[in-house]
Subunit: 289 residues, 6 copies
Amino acid sequence: MRFDEAYSGNVFIGTQSTFEESTVVLYGMPMDWTVSYRPGSRFGPSRIREVSIGLEEYSAYLDRELHEVAYFDAGDIPLPFGNAQKSLDIIEDYIDGLLEAGKKPLGMGGEHLVSWPVMKAAAKKYDDLAIIHFDAHTDLREEYEGEPLSHSTPIRKIAEHIGPKNVYSFGIRSGMKEEFQWAKENGMHISKFEVLEPLKEILPTLAGRPVYVTIDIDVLDPAHAPGTGTVDCGGITSKELLASIHAIAGAGVNVIGADLVEVAPIYDNSEQTANTAAKLIREMLLGFF
Amino acid sequence: MRFDEAYSGNVFIGTQSTFEESTVVLYGMPMDWTVSYRPGSRFGPSRIREVSIGLEEYSAYLDRELHEVAYFDAGDIPLPFGNAQKSLDIIEDYIDGLLEAGKKPLGMGGEHLVSWPVMKAAAKKYDDLAIIHFDAHTDLREEYEGEPLSHSTPIRKIAEHIGPKNVYSFGIRSGMKEEFQWAKENGMHISKFEVLEPLKEILPTLAGRPVYVTIDIDVLDPAHAPGTGTVDCGGITSKELLASIHAIAGAGVNVIGADLVEVAPIYDNSEQTANTAAKLIREMLLGFF
Amino acid sequence: MRFDEAYSGNVFIGTQSTFEESTVVLYGMPMDWTVSYRPGSRFGPSRIREVSIGLEEYSAYLDRELHEVAYFDAGDIPLPFGNAQKSLDIIEDYIDGLLEAGKKPLGMGGEHLVSWPVMKAAAKKYDDLAIIHFDAHTDLREEYEGEPLSHSTPIRKIAEHIGPKNVYSFGIRSGMKEEFQWAKENGMHISKFEVLEPLKEILPTLAGRPVYVTIDIDVLDPAHAPGTGTVDCGGITSKELLASIHAIAGAGVNVIGADLVEVAPIYDNSEQTANTAAKLIREMLLGFF
Amino acid sequence: MRFDEAYSGNVFIGTQSTFEESTVVLYGMPMDWTVSYRPGSRFGPSRIREVSIGLEEYSAYLDRELHEVAYFDAGDIPLPFGNAQKSLDIIEDYIDGLLEAGKKPLGMGGEHLVSWPVMKAAAKKYDDLAIIHFDAHTDLREEYEGEPLSHSTPIRKIAEHIGPKNVYSFGIRSGMKEEFQWAKENGMHISKFEVLEPLKEILPTLAGRPVYVTIDIDVLDPAHAPGTGTVDCGGITSKELLASIHAIAGAGVNVIGADLVEVAPIYDNSEQTANTAAKLIREMLLGFF
Amino acid sequence: MRFDEAYSGNVFIGTQSTFEESTVVLYGMPMDWTVSYRPGSRFGPSRIREVSIGLEEYSAYLDRELHEVAYFDAGDIPLPFGNAQKSLDIIEDYIDGLLEAGKKPLGMGGEHLVSWPVMKAAAKKYDDLAIIHFDAHTDLREEYEGEPLSHSTPIRKIAEHIGPKNVYSFGIRSGMKEEFQWAKENGMHISKFEVLEPLKEILPTLAGRPVYVTIDIDVLDPAHAPGTGTVDCGGITSKELLASIHAIAGAGVNVIGADLVEVAPIYDNSEQTANTAAKLIREMLLGFF
Amino acid sequence: MRFDEAYSGNVFIGTQSTFEESTVVLYGMPMDWTVSYRPGSRFGPSRIREVSIGLEEYSAYLDRELHEVAYFDAGDIPLPFGNAQKSLDIIEDYIDGLLEAGKKPLGMGGEHLVSWPVMKAAAKKYDDLAIIHFDAHTDLREEYEGEPLSHSTPIRKIAEHIGPKNVYSFGIRSGMKEEFQWAKENGMHISKFEVLEPLKEILPTLAGRPVYVTIDIDVLDPAHAPGTGTVDCGGITSKELLASIHAIAGAGVNVIGADLVEVAPIYDNSEQTANTAAKLIREMLLGFF
């Protein structure tokens, strides 16, 4: 051990590139202040990095090793506690900078609202952007009890921004009647309950297009992801979610960014959810970029 | 907020009807004193109500909202700690009253023994009653270490009371050899290990009959319901149990009452089991009544 | 059991009065969105009520029973998730109403920032108001990383509002150097580390004055209150905090309102902190009003 | 390792004597069916044995080693789940047998009601029996919500049986007004809140008398014993309880039996309470017998 | 209860035979000192025994009861903390003794490295030994950060010892690229991700051969086995693992020994993993011997 | 945020100096492989750093801020899992290097055995070295069940190395009779049970001497430090341990190094112990150097 070097302990496993060398930038968005039920996802990115050291750097699924991708772990974006609008502005600026520098963003939440400024920034850069969205919940509300900045609204915001027909949601099992109706009336795709099969049907239609992938960890059944704010039974297995990532990886779409949100360590017995999240991040790094 | 109104915080989500207006009455039976292994289900009903606020009032499965059903949450029936016989008598009286008033009972346990006085009361009112029973365990013992009032006995009691051929058990994976033999010799239906497929075969034969549905949450695999007294691996997923409720809802049987028992919050990481129970109650309210 | 009555399960033990009959109104302020470290206190009021059923209604310390005080549990004030300013405005309006109706407010938090609008409302009604403050932290920041609405600021705000010399803090063991200096330079009282002895010295000087008492549960050592956002060792025992409440109760000051904040159930093994909070609330009800 | 011997893993550390050789018999009473709040103490004796392997066999307090006392661990008395009367009868018979064989009973609970048949059996054998009782609660109720067999009643029962003036309670901080009044009117000793100082005053008056010592672990503050059914803040430290046992050991009273009850492992973070209980049992073995 | 008998509380349910009478010997190997990530499996065997009392003695899968197999629970082999080489030597000696006495070994871990000396001992006695290995990880490393004695190496060691073509691994989803390559180049069988289907294809080729079965509990998905050192999502269900044991039981192979390793109670919410392990042990006892 | 900088997230709060600039070097020793009871302290250093971000950088006890001390966080020393001798050798080499570079070592454990090579290295550099040792346990064994490298032996080793009369132990409440006798016969100082008062008596005799301070967190009562391998009731409060550090800081001894060991996060509800450890490290940084 050379004790004259600065210690940088808590980075995602296998990080080797500098910012300049990197193709992909990994970053955390530790915000949970608009959640309506159980907070705690602010500690998600930090715990995911921490447990990532237990992973292998090789994927037996993709036959690829982490050193084959040039990524940089930029740490958590500092966000002002309790100020949602300012937090979202900071994230958007940050992503604007990343995209300008030609990097692919790979984010870790935090509550799902953090995906909104990222997707908005991506839409500035990429015409014809499509969103692939895995979630238990529609997230299509206009506001939540009067608040337009709520973790129940990000998909509605991006759908209105780039057009609902460019948004594809999978695994949805909860929402208000009005949200499902809005989606239907506006041509947005929602696969209720199911993920892998409908995804495989959609993917060929997206070939060649720039795609942003946003995963709310609660698309998994609570058996597979207890460590999240809102658990909702009847979900899919981690095996199916892995297969879905691999399906996207093999579909010839142009993944220009992605995120994984809503991991909340305090509810996570045995760090099961954080470990699963770390493996999903690894497969996204190896499969998407 | 009108602060001059009495606060009634912990009721099942969406409760709007008075007792008089209601078709269905929801109630808790906080008893766990005869369990042979791990107690704690007395706190099940209270925790299920508490977490139910995280649910949507709309079911994407049944395309129906809670306001479409008139139900009343009567709270927990006060039961004398440690006195099993007296507790069962109180429950039976209570259900007799409900049925006399023309209400459909929807109960939350508590240990499984609480289902016995409910089913007995139902059998007084409904000729030709059938029981649909989801469980990991046979619950067909005559007594447990000398005690005839035990959580291992309720299905034996009702089977002897209304005739074993009117009782249909699904998902059973544990019991004594003698229990399985008794069932076989007496014409009672037991589907070992499996639930949805055999249920779909049985349901047409029950069309038009009055049916009481009793669900022991441990029919689920421990991955899906860790928060219960006796976990037993090899069970079904919450997805399959939801589908089973929906199968009953669509089968044209006359569900005259139902219960969900054995949720024990102290063993329930992330309140996963309580959340699942709340969703199951919602689907039963929307599907059965 | 009369099953034709609305169920109001989760109220503080012994609640018997209507709003009109009551002298004291108990209410929750389920806000935790500005905390800089671990959120979760939004569920504090609900859990305190839930565990209060395990308390006796008689205080062996004060030889008094709960039926001797007319109090009403108004439930939790609905607050907009993630919107700090609006939440504080709602609380202030609510307290204005209570005070106008001649009620004494007894609040349960929630993060400490919720005390600020309550104290501000009290200062409108009571000239010469003094604050007794129990806490591990100074809470005297002007802002936290740029945010003036932070759980680190409420005591600074009230001190500037009514004059620092009217604020008395006890048990303080953490803060920035600048906060301690500000207090010293402005004549505010801070008892570092100690509580009961300095309190007994101060109390005679407050006799006859209107006093608001605000307790951050983290004034207790983490051994006595693990269930809070920011644990800080070196604190006092629950025995000493009980004695402090009893000292105020016997000091001839005019307690015009009080609160207990920062109970966060998710970190609370064995519901120890919630039980302690419930007992403290009982002693405040019996001792202050 | 000799693998041809029966394995007897879970006995209290240092057990070496056979029943015949023993002076003291250690046994568990795994009953918790009458508790009004949180059950789970049925697993107390088993967990205390399990963690006892972490103890030293030497007491630095008493300068004595476990091999100097002849004790036998008889395991848990099998009790019928949910049948309180029968359980108490079995315990009483068991203790009658022990006393007849000239053994000193040292019991582990289970709920506090299990102490009642033990003390009754002791009163048959020993004239002039006195009880030393450590507890947070009076346990002086005649019945609890109609049930005369309740964990709130054992001290009332023994007080009525041998005369209230022969019962000495210490550390009491909770009870109904009527219980404290009954004690006062009938000459029973209750030390409110305090333990060691009043005990030292009482002990000389008991010199030479047969004394049974019953310890409810909740006499400790929840900081020191979170793993119990009813936590109640404002209690004593484990250091003070150890000193109290040592005070009795050095007082020249004739301890004819003892118990430690209400350890509930499920609420016991880090097995802290079970470890404390094991150490208390060791000190009782070395100090009393 | 006969209180004059030695208490042997913590043995696997249904143990009735003496060592001499037994065909199978059950034993624990409480070692976890070489694990690279989270230790704690040393307490696995003890907890598995403890929770086994909640099992039925009858298997509804195999229609067989535990009394039909003569097994003896020899307890845990005492191992020197922190000394890996000496621990492995002790285990090998122990198994040599068992095999010489004509017993079938059924072991409980402990970390996976404990299987190495058992398999080595078995290879001395049985020519043509084959290994069936269930695991999430290859365990084919030569060393781990310089240490040849590591929990990442046991399968490599036995594969080199008896020839890689005699080792069959199932369910593997993690490892280094070099490990998979080594297996491929050396003719060792690895079924990636899948278990039951490839197992059914392999089993006929092993008919009549002596087979040792080693199960790392982490072959299960973390949803089904959170209580282990290294959780790795994308695994199989407990239902599939039960079916795999039953497939081996019905395949006409000669199971000469087996083990189940890596159960770590401290990470095991609701004792789910320990309960599953106990059931798997029961099915192995009833199915293999 | 400048996203072009390497992220070094998990360092102790307030770290600003480079290795060259530093006076004190903070490092972790993540070893727990020789513990006889519950492992897990390998994760102690990492968790202490993680929670340190919740601390203030100012000490109200010492009126000093962290920027006034030049320290460097070197991270955890990489140690070979399960190889005790090699781990100790690596630590000793590492400390030799630090001392040669003129740095003061401040270590975080890990099990207590890690202190042995540090103290040995210090004894090479400093003649007349004295040890101040806070612990619940003597740690004076020669070996543990045959193993000379055990967490029960470090104080014996250093006492034999520098002479028993140069070692001062405080707070000891557990050990074998032989250990206490050895200490007595060899002139080593042991304060049984008590800490602050005897420490104040000893300190003047050490004025001017080089002193190494080693703190086993279990000197605290389990109420104050549940997150450790071996909890032992009857200990001191965190308030007393803070006061002890401050007593040393004000005593004019020359503290040449220090450590804090045995923090085990997995047993640590609410991260209470890790938070306490972080505060103790801060006070040592500010008080000793």
